[in-house]
Symmetry: C2
């Protein structure tokens, strides 16, 4: 039984995490939030207070911390008494925050794979470059570290496990499809940090097919998917975190990730990429100033958090899992549909942040109850999906299943 949460980060996802922790503070205890900029943390707490989100009276406090400084994070863990750290800061801080958790013996979770700011798209499996190197250290310290427990990666890993365990004897393929059919009304914007968003798509597209890593380039492989609620949508094979753990756990299956992109997004991305404006390497202006082009692109684009008030429409994210049951081919689509406007009304964030921010809170509740407090490092598909999906049903992200037998709640 662990309690008291420390949230690292103060972006759109952190805001959702803070609201959801507050709504469940009877289980989670004290809530602390820390980032480099104290004012951003305080703004989030202010929005929690405005919505009256705290279920029971309790501690709700903001802190300034440099999450790249492992010792500073460890000190904050000690002074706050937090036993559960939810890291939703930039993808560059995973390893320092994880180390702080190992050093202090508290539970760790994040929602995206660690990245080195100077490297784009490393050798697969990506988790092998950073996080998995700390497996033994976690085991030795008895530290629960749940990697990638947002929606994708995260919930979609649980969906894969649910489908395989529940409806098949063996799995042959896992296709994760992420469609945002919402509209923010701007000429162009990314739904989360432009720097992280574009970095996802500038490298090699790795997929796991026929028992080996396959390489493609971005927007090379696309297909139209016909999905519940959002209908027909074009999605492209994309490199993504969960492919790198699911392929290790289910090496016999093809594992692919598909993300929906409109022609407009692809055009803007292509122009920026081909001009060199998405580069993380510095260029020198005629005036002699050293500048990283991607940082300038980020600076001119809308702040993703600013999109929330006007965002309408829905997201559909799910897993099409194919396999064999009793010698017959079988397939099942496990999915969630989320609504941008509902998310904004509840927690002041748009749907993309909502789907990423609710799952780590469900995971924190399972660590608090002990069900997921496994005392080792784990990717989500290595944990029992049922208590996770049960909590998600209750706290805002219900799971449905569509197969030959119809379209229904997963546990119907």
């Amino acid at each position: 039984m662990k309690k008291n949460v420390l949230i690292i980060g103060a972006g759109g996802v952190a805001q959702v995490v803070a609201h959801k922790c507050a709504q469940n503070n009877d289980v989670l205890g004290d809530i602390h939030i820390a980032s480099r900029t104290l004012a951003k943390c305080e703004a989030i707490l202010e929005s929690v207070r405005e919505k009256n989100a705290m279920k029971v009276p309790g501690v709700l406090r903001a802190h300034a911390v440099d999450a790249m400084d492992s010792a500073a994070v460890a000190a904050l863990i000690r002074t706050t008494g937090a036993q559960i750290v939810i890291n939703v800061g930039s993808a560059f801080v995973n390893m320092t925050v994880l180390q702080a958790c190992i050093d202090t013996g508290v539970a760790y979770m994040d929602t995206a794979i660690h990245e080195d700011p100077t490297k784009i798209c490393e050798t697969p499996p990506w988790y092998g470059n950073y996080e998995w190197k700390r497996r033994e250290a976690c085991e030795k310290a008895g530290v629960t570290a749940i990697l990638g427990v947002g929606f994708d990666p995260g919930v979609v890993n649980a969906y894969a496990r649910l489908a395989i365990d529940g409806w098949m004897d063996e799995v042959t393929s896992i296709d994760i499809v992420d469609i945002n059919a919402g509209s923010h009304g701007r000429w162009f914007a990314t739904n989360f940090d432009p720097e992280i968003n574009f970095r996802e798509f500038t490298g090699t597209v790795y997929s796991w097919q026929n028992g080996a890593w396959q390489s493609n380039s971005m927007f090379e492989v696309g297909r139209v998917w016909d999905l519940p609620v959002v209908g027909e949508q074009k999605a492209y094979m994309t490199g993504h975190d969960e492919v790198h753990s699911l392929s290790a756990n289910y090496p016999q299956a093809d594992v692919r990730f598909w993300m929906g992109f409109g022609d407009h997004y692809i055009n803007v991305f292509t122009v920026l990429k081909n001009l060199g404006l998405l580069s993380e390497k510095p260029v020198t202006t005629a005036e002699g100033q050293e500048v990283i082009p991607l940082k300038v692109v980020k600076a001119v684009l809308p702040d993703p958090a600013s999109l929330a008030p006007d965002y309408t429409g829905k997201t559909c994210i799910g897993d099409l899992v194919k396999g064999v049951k009793d010698g017959q081919p079988v397939e099942v689509f496990v999915y969630n549909v989320a609504d941008h406007k509902q998310a904004y009304e509840e927690v002041g964030s748009q749907g993309i942040s909502y789907t990423a921010g609710v799952p780590p809170v469900a995971a924190a509740m399972l660590i608090a109850s002990g069900e997921w407090d496994v005392g080792r490092m784990a990717n989500v598909e290595e944990l029992d999906p049922k208590p996770f999906l049960t909590i998600l049903d209750r706290i805002g992200l219900p799971t449905r299943v569509k197969d030959a037998a119809g379209d229904r709640p997963w546990n119907a």
Copy 2:
């Protein structure tokens, strides 16, 4: 009779000017070139020597000068003994260089209108904001200052005057059409300084129609032109320098400028503009660095000078002038066709630089001979076009005319 030339600037156009001055140094005398970066001037002189361009033995010298410092330019004029200054530096230095010429009593010319780095697209007529305010000062000092004597503005102003004087009793419209049907083989590049190139197209499109200034936005008005050699080409109404003097000299005529753009250029431009990446106003990155987006775009794009070796194809720039002759409507198209590869072979620059750099040398030769040494400020259409076009025929930019009587050399 004036002699000895000082070239200000060391870009692609300056290279053409240096070569052409060298080829005509029997008339022009000493040749000096000066810019902020001495090495760039020396590289140009090196290329002049490589091509053995000097017609007769003579002075050919490089200097460093900050052209924003009027006193420094004046001092350089005095020490070099130059009597003719060809300013092909950035559009931001016109007024300081012009002042240096007024202070020293030497002839001045440039190829583009003065710009303030912090202002995009000022009130028409553009010349009224800066250059024309020094008319009296030139008159008083007896200084010849020829404004905008590149190709467009410049040669096209002479084309308008030629057509009006030669083939009509009154003029009703002047449409200047600039088509580059060449190919540089890069994914995207601008043909001259990206900063100046994009600034041309981010402001209001001013045209002079029905006796008044009309406003449009960029790419709002387009039409297909069927031109000699380059064939059918789409061009868009664009703001441009020569509209601002021709409309003052021929207020009874509609004056429009049309520039050819491919769909690819328009798409890249539209993405960059809509994202805010063409802004000359600084933005602040997440890391706190102040950056002007347009400077970063310039830094990632190919250096226009680097396009020259691989540039193929032709340009066609001309004036469609309509009017009335003996009570009947009449129209004539006066034009030049230039070849990128020929330009490179002759002077090491591509065709766009060539068409801009040859005309000021023809003008310098007319100042040297006295024919255009008028002792006052003038736009090109205010000077006799015939000696100018005669020299251009000889030094690389022949003029042709197409009308009801056929397609022929202008003086056939």
